[in-house]
Symmetry: C2
Subunit: 305 residues, 2 copies
């Protein structure tokens, strides 16, 4: 049994390799929902969809998110109706948001909707939103606090980051199954996702960090930082904003209280000794996943650690 | 000033001709909302959209509804998620439903949303939903009561009709402006729409029939029945179901208490005398609107009556 903590694109790529080696039925993925946003009255869960679309083989592989070959006719028409179009919503992709919003409106929990969507996409993994409650990642900028998607997508991560806030962190409960999936598993994998706004959100949920410390599972994390830069996304800007170093070491420090093993890229070999001083085992591997072979290879390292 | 009572396709075609002769700013269209339906959590107002799309020149002219050249990628994807797809929702069309649902959720009234949508489509006519309240046309069949769209679209009008019910008719109020548009105008036109489920719904609203009787405006109706059959739609089946004759005369009887003039097709010339006995002036014209010229010609007859 494997439980993964996941953000979006990086995690999805890693998990593609993992499910080549492990039966999907034995994989539970706890996914960040701090990026979730309501746009046009629709509930959008970007990381859940990226993970699901990727594992279902329908993701736009070039972008890493959205559905391949999608069109944007509805979004264009929304633009003509004076609505904001900075968040790309494809026509096929829109079906998921309409489906989700409709079920949420009918009183279903996000976790229930996600389980149903996962099944309908033909997947056998368990995809768990980290929480069914409101939890919103906000970025503090010179211009004020803005939603993470507004920071990342609308403003293209160009604002200096003064801080990161998690609205709802005090009150949101982990979704049913989250703590259980951490406690009753043999391996916990922290995917190569943004340590602040993807993994950091999950860790900020009540009881999650404690469960990670208490579980008897073996706990492995893959560094999302290679040679001083994130593989994808704005992790560097967020780390800087929080006055943290942009390095595999800095990420290891953030996870040091609960992980057993940290996997760093060969490019960061020089940091091995320093990370080991945090009391963590270190494995060095190629963590850049360009091909399916790269993904499977990295998953093998993780499973073997 | 002209106030029109309208259903969907037939009314939209007629109004296309009317606005060639009259400044849009002087036209108010009171539109049936008994067909409105919530599907996939989206509020769909078929008649309002048909009128608006037609006047905006973006309607699929062959079908008479929807947006020309639209695609159905979202609907197909909703089908893959196990959702019903019997109601055709195009990708561009969907933008209107998402826009409307979002504003309704934010507390706007349907009439406010419609005014805004009309403006955004570049129209200068006033399109008024007949009511902002719940009002639902249900068809009584052997299998029980079903929503009008289920009867018409899902089951292709194949059920024998035992009756027609208007849910909400006792409580729904005419939208702000509806009674005023009837009382303070020089001409009221009853468009060639279904007398039961399009015009009949508007007439069933509190105060509408009284206003039509009291107004000093000249009141003209165009028969939607030509040579014993509706030009479009299931009016014949509904009339039969209500044990009414399928004829221009039968429609004239339904409107006899408030109209001054009834326009019938040349094919129904033989009914002229009988209709006049109801105390109504009768004009005979070509009411089949194939070309824009046909539409303008019919509008001229209406304006001249």
């Amino acid at each position: 049994m494997i439980t993964a903590l996941a953000g979006g694109v990086g995690a999805a790529r890693f998990l593609t390799g993992l499910v080549k080696l492990v039966d999907e039925k034995n994989v539970t993925i706890i996914v960040n929902t701090g990026d979730d946003i309501e746009l046009h009255g629709l509930h959008i869960s970007p990381d859940i969809d990226t993970i699901a679309y990727t594992l279902a083989g329908i993701v736009d592989e070039e972008k890493g998110w959205g559905i391949k070959g999608d069109t944007f006719h509805c979004l264009t028409a929304l633009g003509k109706l004076g609505q904001e179009t900075w968040f790309a919503l494809g026509d096929k992709d829109l079906a998921m948001h309409v489906f989700r919003t409709n079920l949420l409106k009918k009183g279903c929990k996000l976790s229930e909707v996600t389980a149903e969507a996962t099944r309908l996409l033909g997947l056998n993994v368990a995809i768990l939103p980290m929480t069914d409650d409101r939890f919103e990642t906000r970025i503090v900028t010179k211009r004020g606090e803005i939603h993470f998607q507004e920071y990342l997508v609308k403003r293209q991560a160009r604002d200096a980051v003064y801080g990161v806030k998690f609205l709802g962190a005090d009150t949101a409960e982990p979704a049913v199954g989250v703590i259980d999936a951490i406690m009753n598993t043999t391996k916990v994998v922290v995917c190569p996702s943004n340590p602040i706004v993807s993994i950091g959100t999950i860790l900020a949920l009540k009881g999650v960090r404690d469960a990670l410390k208490k579980t008897n599972a073996d706990k492995v994390a893959v560094s999302p930082i290679v040679a001083g830069a994130p593989i994808k996304g704005p992790a560097d800007k967020l780390l800087w904003g929080l006055r943290l170093e942009v390095s595999a070491y800095a990420v290891a420090e953030l996870y040091a209280d609960f992980i057993d093993t940290f996997i760093i890229d060969t490019a960061d070999l020089a940091q091995k000794g320093e990370i080991e001083k945090l009391g963590i085992k270190v494995r060095v591997a190629n963590t850049i996943m360009r091909t399916l072979e790269d993904k499977v290879h990295l998953a093998k390292i993780v499973l073997g650690s």
